[in-house]
Symmetry: D2
Subunit: 139 residues, 4 copies
């Protein structure tokens, strides 16, 4: 279905500013979905001492987006149209988060994806569903 | 309705790890809502060259949360239960974002808030709606 | 901006199956938004004795959709891509609901709208935000 | 975990006004989740000739709610706090819809559930995620 070079995809994204800023890494992206990792540090915390919603939203948004990029044709991109995320448990500093994304429905123009983050014990931390728009452009 | 010290509230949050990491600042939080600012830099970008969803989600989530903290009694906190956010326009590096949050419905246990981010020309960049849970704890 | 015949628009929709089934009526749809009315009856109730989420979702979805149809060119339609709705208060039988919809962002292909329902005392019952796709077809 | 009488639960809900109004039936609700059926008729249609969002939202909301009621202790109820739903494909009259709900996270006060509806060929029609509040009351 796609001959996209997965290692190039991962490299491109792992080098972008936001991934580096928050220390997030995509470790896999293929037709089965994507996998990310991020260890929560003091820099990710809000005033209550747990990871800010923006960190978890960034992780889950990215996981869904890369799951889509892994299955659309080379040269195509996708943009998050909207995202909905439930926060299930707090993630204090030291939490080793794993993020996952998968495509629920690949439309001609729009894609619906699901994503989640869990800790090292497999406890769910955040779970979401989002809509993306496909576009033709160099990634 | 509240005698919460607004300047202490702003100071506490502006010093937390996540706000500092992404360079976001709350500039006002009172019964009319909250106001934030964040200038998009290269560190906020995804691979397409515009602010990652995690940055915009963090800004809007924070704006809604601080709008709530400004109106609940001193000593009370709130946690994001879930958030939904539409992304309306891309924000490249240099974009001066202003975030706003306001309370839509203050329940006894749950609060519904709305938030948005716009650029210096007032163009809407992201708009969202979220549910928060009130809790009693030192902020 | 549009020469769409508002009375024809209202008539078409007020005659469709779903509006008749639940007794919902659109009373206005113009560039300022839409207005609907629906009085909650026993037929709308879930087992706890208040209006089912499907009734409130139907009302708010319709209010957003008609607000969009009132501003896009004649002959264009729109379909709900996704919808998010917060339920703020229960609506028992006899509640006279008014629904409102308004366009938040009219994109070339996608539209973001906000909608809400309140009772006769102006108390908010449900509030939502949704994404619609524009399409060219006879309404 | 629960000694709730499943057949009484199904009977109670299948007799409520909304289920009867739209012709929706819950056929199963246990610890594995819930199952619903609804055949789209002319009464469910919007002006474009496919099932209105309120029908699909009602079906998926109900499926998630009954999946929760099947696992909480007898005498406990749940109310939809908020719901997010993506519409994936249109459902014209005659479509035989099956709805499913399952619990994603059972918290002490809040529950996160997922739900979906598909047609007789298994094609997904709508998929959603929602937050419910548990409450103690006779169902």
């Amino acid at each position: 279905m796609t001959t996209r070079d997965a290692s190039a995809l991962l490299r491109t994204w792992n080098e972008c500013g936001f991934y580096r800023l928050i220390g997030m890494e995509v470790t896999r992206a293929d037709e089965a979905g994507s996998q990310f990792r991020l260890t929560v540090t003091d820099e990710h915390l809000q005033a209550y001492g747990t990871a800010h919603g923006g960190i978890l939203a960034g992780l889950v948004d990215a996981a869904m987006g890369l799951a889509i990029l892994a299955v659309v044709p080379e040269g195509e991109g996708c943009a998050t149209v909207e995202m909905k995320l439930n926060f299930l448990a707090p993630a204090p500093a030291g939490t080793e988060l794993t993020g996952h994304g998968r495509v629920l429905h690949l439309g001609r123009r729009l894609v619906v994806a699901a994503g989640e983050a869990h800790d090292a014990e497999g406890r769910p931390i955040a779970v979401g569903q989002a809509t993306f728009a496909r576009f033709t452009a160099a990634a």
